[in-house]
Subunit: 330 residues, 2 copies
């Protein structure tokens, strides 16, 4: 038996139920992990609400993309991992079929990776979603380099912090935005060269000043909605604005005249572009693994909860107070 | 003396006045062309209205991007062209400084090209805007190839026809859209594999049928506005939607959920990205020159006007009846 988080209906944090279920065996090309820590993502909040890119095949549904732990069973055909291996899960599966919130999790072997020994299980559950998401856009597609200015909006999320670290690792300049002063110092500590507090400061003026009027070469934005017109104003000629979320909830305009004038791209982006392509994924995975090993990257953990506090952990994520990753220890 | 078209105020076609002015000498790095034919572009309609990406430095203003003729004077430092050369103008200058509507035109030498001898002056005035515009997006950026489906909206413009020819030259499949049946046969004759008559047919269904459900890899659209949501529906995963105009006049939405789900880019694009970069421009110019020489491309001329009918020629362009290039002979 193992305690597993499931939800029987879509809704708020309290639909997440911790249930005692009999443990299953991994099928062909799957592994089972005795979970030590779970990393939370906003995708799971939206999945729980029934508003994610994909919906559960049926209810009750499991949930969760990221966990770390120790392999305690392997299915047929698994040769790359063995029982006892310390691993984490890569969100390279559909939550309609797999979920990792619980004491035990079964995932496809293609969604498993070792992580450097220097990292704790909490850190091991805080790697793949954040670094791969930021990597795919910033390194994979935009190949950011020294001299580039990269704007990271809503920067105090786990993906935001990961982006700041990757931008610094690539030698580019990270400009972070955050709504209030509360997280400004944390963002500077994490490596942002500048932080724009959007409730108090004019984004367009600040970015013009920071970049000497050149504008941002790459913009990495999970907010969408009306802010995209401002992002187009701060964009340099030829810039790409990555939209990787829909936090605003409002209709998103395409900034046609700025885009025509400056040759801007607004690009929808999700990690699935990377996880759906084994060759791209392995390139990204090994880049991140090595950067973690070389301590160029270090997951920032904000707060940990216990497994039976899973609803509180979701509530905390929805409060937007976090600085970095929210982790549940098992 | 030479008859030159100028406008003293922004407005409708009748603000274009044919005026007898004394001929000027080309300055350093400029050439003067005795004009034989002028190619019309929608950019000039919008410039005349004062609504273009750039505005005249002062009024009265000259106007016009494309002309062909014979060089009759060269400025200091011009070594690549000589008096008597048969040339056309590339829209690689600002209309706030230069204009080619008239019997005589001065342009920077960097905005001049020979064209194959097999072409008439009318055809020579119908090359660079249309082919370079389509080339920059389709070949330069998207590197279209056999197997790609490319949707060309509002396809009966000169740029639309040029795009269809370039798509065929690259071995890809051109799907053209047009509002009414009137131009369907012309588009098929020009090389469109399929034509969607958007007043009568459902674009989404037709493109799904034509592409076997795969969608369009590249979309080349001068309309913008609400149609962009439909274009996102017909786009294949990873597709790029180029927006190179603003014909609709309405606000343009960014199709966020389709873009997130399929990794779509919506990209503002103008020819200035190419003409502002001498290396890129020369690559494009020589590709087009050679394809014209090899008769893989052939400018499609819709209708010719006389120079003193310039207002009528603009009125005709604004009527949206044209199939291909509108040319004024001098």
């Amino acid at each position: 038996m193992a305690r597993i988080v499931r939800f029987h209906e879509f809704g708020g944090p309290d639909v997440l139920k911790l249930e005692e279920l009999s443990e299953k065996s991994p099928a062909k090309a799957e592994v089972r992990i005795k979970v030590s820590a779970i990393g939370l993502n906003r995708a799971e909040v939206v999945f729980r609400e029934g508003r994610y890119l994909e919906r559960p095949e049926k209810l009750p549904s499991q949930i969760g993309y990221e966990a770390s732990g120790t392999i305690d069973a392997v299915g047929d055909g698994v040769t790359t991992f063995k029982i006892g291996d310390k691993v984490g899960t890569i969100p390279a599966f559909s939550m309609s079929q797999y979920g990792v919130y619980g004491e035990s999790a079964i995932v496809p072997v293609t969604a498993v990776s070792h992580f450097p020994d220097s990292l704790s299980f909490e850190e091991g559950a805080s790697i793949w979603m954040q670094y791969l998401t930021a990597y795919g856009a910033l390194i994979g597609y935009s190949k950011i380099k020294p001299g580039d200015f990269v704007v990271v909006t809503a920067a105090s999320s786990s993906v935001g912090y990961a982006a700041i670290e990757l931008i610094n690792a690539a030698g580019a300049t990270a400009i972070a935005t955050t709504r209030t002063k509360a997280k400004k110092q944390n963002l500077l500590d994490a490596g942002a060269s500048d932080v724009v507090v959007t409730d108090d400061e004019d984004l367009v003026e600040r970015v013009a000043a920071i970049t000497g009027g050149r504008g941002a070469n790459v913009i990495f934005d999970p907010i969408a909605g009306p802010i995209v017109k401002k992002l187009a104003e701060i964009a340099a000629p030829g810039a790409v604005i990555y939209e990787y979320g829909a936090l605003s909830g409002a209709e998103t305009p395409f900034p046609l005249f700025q885009a025509l004038r400056k040759g801007l791209s607004v690009r929808g982006y999700s990690l699935f572009e990377l996880t759906g392509d084994p060759a791209k994924l392995e390139l990204a995975r090994s880049y991140v693994f090595n950067a973690l090993k070389d301590r160029k990257l270090k997951p920032l953990i904000d707060k940990t909860f216990k497994l039976d506090e899973i609803a509180d952990a979701h509530r905390y994520m929805e409060s937007n107070q976090q600085n970095g990753k929210i982790v549940v220890t098992v």
